[in-house]
Amino acid sequence: MNDKNKQKLKNIKTLSEEEVKHIAKLANLSLSNEEVKKFQGQLSETLNFIQVLDELNTEKAEPTNHASGLSNIFRQDEIKPSISQAEALANAPSLSDGFFKVKAILERNDDEI
């Protein structure tokens, strides 16, 4: 095996199942065990592909966060009409008295029950 290949092998990145589950938690996705397995492979595959980026020297390059080249775009502090309450709620699956309703959130404080 030549040095280059050794180097490549060393860089191969595989995500653990735990990592995949942790990412899913961060992303608020619930995955089945099969999905965890599948993504474990696919994400690793993609991670290895994007390692080509390391071939390029970016020491002198500033990151490009915006393609527009614009800066300092603001609006004045003026009120514009809101949408109506009915419009705001129109697409919601669960409502109560003009509020959006969700299942009880556990982290409440005793005072607020």
Partner: protein, 453 residues
């Protein structure tokens, strides 16, 4: 085991008093409005909606930063802070990460005449979340969401963890509130949630010659200055006991969040911070970066210079009008009273009414019921003028009356000289009687005391 040091850091959120929200044109005045009546695609996080930053909010943050002696960053940007919570409509909050508008400042505050300096880490701008109400509908527990507050501009101020007492933290917060009110960028009413404070507390404990740090605890749900103090005090005691029992030390990842309960007057565990700690910040692609030119920075500085802050006003009142520091402090608690006082002083000059006359009246009045609030400075001065007109006798005239009274009451004079000084009041009364109430009692007292000495 000995408590060596208390370490308190403050994270303060203050709602800015702009007309419209941070990134859309909805009204930012949300207190007690009909739920979900002040929203739009942007602040509801509807698909495809895009944020456009409100310049006034940015300007306000930069004013606060300057008042806190911060550096204004020439290059700034907004970032996305990603996390999931039902009151956060987009699944991320637009905030600022590594390039906030202002960095590295300080603020002086005074406890019992001694000055302390709190270090400010950063001042940044972000958007508020919606409001959750936890309740029951048809017997089932649920949470209701109102997005009127969603997207309102919120400034976040983070201090270094260097306050060593709950009193220091509370005093600092009061000072901060006074400043943002002077800047007229926020109302900062804690009861209304316009100013929210989350102290992070831990302790340094000495035991057997070794020092230990207790795990960090962030306290939430505090809605008054009084409770800031109480919550911290509670937490200090709790952490000390907890350490005695469990001896758990501060470690990366063991920071917890505790909620303050007004009813129980205690803090209770909310959630472990570990779960939500990876916010995956990245530059907000929907908002181009911000670069301030030298001219713009100068403009911000000019704007700031025009605003008088309480410290400056207090020293002016002391040096210019001869007020005592306590008097100056009382008058400068809010800008309105301070400016009212100055106006009165100016108007009083013509009528020969001194600043001391005004300050006494003002402080007395504000102690009772803010009567002066209904009066214009001109009316107020006239009122003082009238009461002073009653004392139409000058010093010479009063002196003549005093001589007469003393002559007629030799016996009492003698008693006074023998040390029975309380008879002075009686003598003042006699002079006043002779003067038909037209003598200023303070002058009468002064003259009598001189003559009797």
């Amino acid at each position: 085991m000995k408590l060596k040091r208390i370490l308190i850091g403050l994270e303060i959120h203050i709602e800015l008093k702009t007309k419209s929200k941070m990134f859309c044109g909805c009204s930012a005045v949300h207190f007690e409005k009909i739920p979900n009546s002040q929203t739009c695609p942007v602040c509801l996080g509807l698909p495809g909606a895009l944020p456009v930053p409100n310049f006034k909010a940015i300007e306000s943050v930069i004013l606060i930063g300057q008042a806190l002696n911060c550096e204004i960053l020439k290059e700034s940007k907004f970032d996305r802070k990603n996390y999931f919570y039902p009151d956060l409509p987009k699944g991320y909050q637009i905030s600022q990460y590594d390039q906030p508008f202002c960095l590295n400042g300080w603020l002086e505050y005074k406890i019992q005449g001694t000055n302390y300096r709190a270090k400010i880490r950063r001042v940044h701008l972000e958007e508020d979340t919606g409001k959750l109400v936890h309740t029951q509908v048809k017997g089932k527990s649920c949470s209701l969401i109102d997005f009127n507050r969603s997207g309102c501009p919120l400034v976040e101020i983070v201090t270094e963890p260097e306050f060593d007492s709950s009193l220091a933290a509370k005093t600092f917060l009061e000072k901060l509130q006074k400043i943002v009110r002077y800047l007229e960028v926020a109302d900062a009413d804690m009861e209304k949630g316009q100013m929210r404070c989350e102290p992070t507390v831990n302790l340094e404990i000495e035991d057997g010659g070794k020092n230990y740090f207790t795990p960090l605890v962030e306290i939430k749900n505090i809605n008054s200055f009084r409770f800031v103090q109480k919550a911290i005090d509670f937490e200090v005691e709790r952490q000390f006991k907890d350490f005695e029992e469990k001896r758990i030390e501060k470690m990366p990842g063991n920071k917890t969040t505790r909620g303050w309960s007004e009813k129980k007057l205690e803090t209770g565990l909310q959630r472990t911070k570990e779960e939500a700690s990876d916010y995956r910040y990245f530059p907000e692609p929907d908002i181009p970066p911000i670069f301030w030119s030298d001219k713009q920075i100068t403009n911000f500085k000019e704007l700031f210079k025009k605003i008088v802050l309480p410290d400056k006003l207090e020293s002016r009142f002391i040096s210019l009008y001869g007020l005592r520091p306590e008097q100056a402090e009382i008058l400068c608690r809010d800008k309105e009273t301070a400016f009212y006082f100055e106006k009165c002083v100016e108007l009083g000059k013509i009528k020969k009414i001194t600043s001391l006359d005004i300050v006494n009246k003002l402080i007395n009045q504000s102690k009772k019921a803010k009567q002066f609030a209904d009066l214009s400075p001109k009316e107020f001065i006239e009122k003082i003028g009238e009461s002073q007109k009653l004392f139409s006798l000058n010093k010479e005239e009063i002196s003549l009356i005093a001589d007469r009274v003393l002559k007629e009451n030799q016996k009492i004079q003698d008693e006074y000289r023998k040390g029975k000084t309380q008879v002075l009041g009686f003598l003042i009364g006699l002079v006043q009687k002779e003067a038909k109430g037209k003598a200023d009692p303070r002058i009468v007292q002064k003259i009598l005391a001189e003559k009797l000495a």
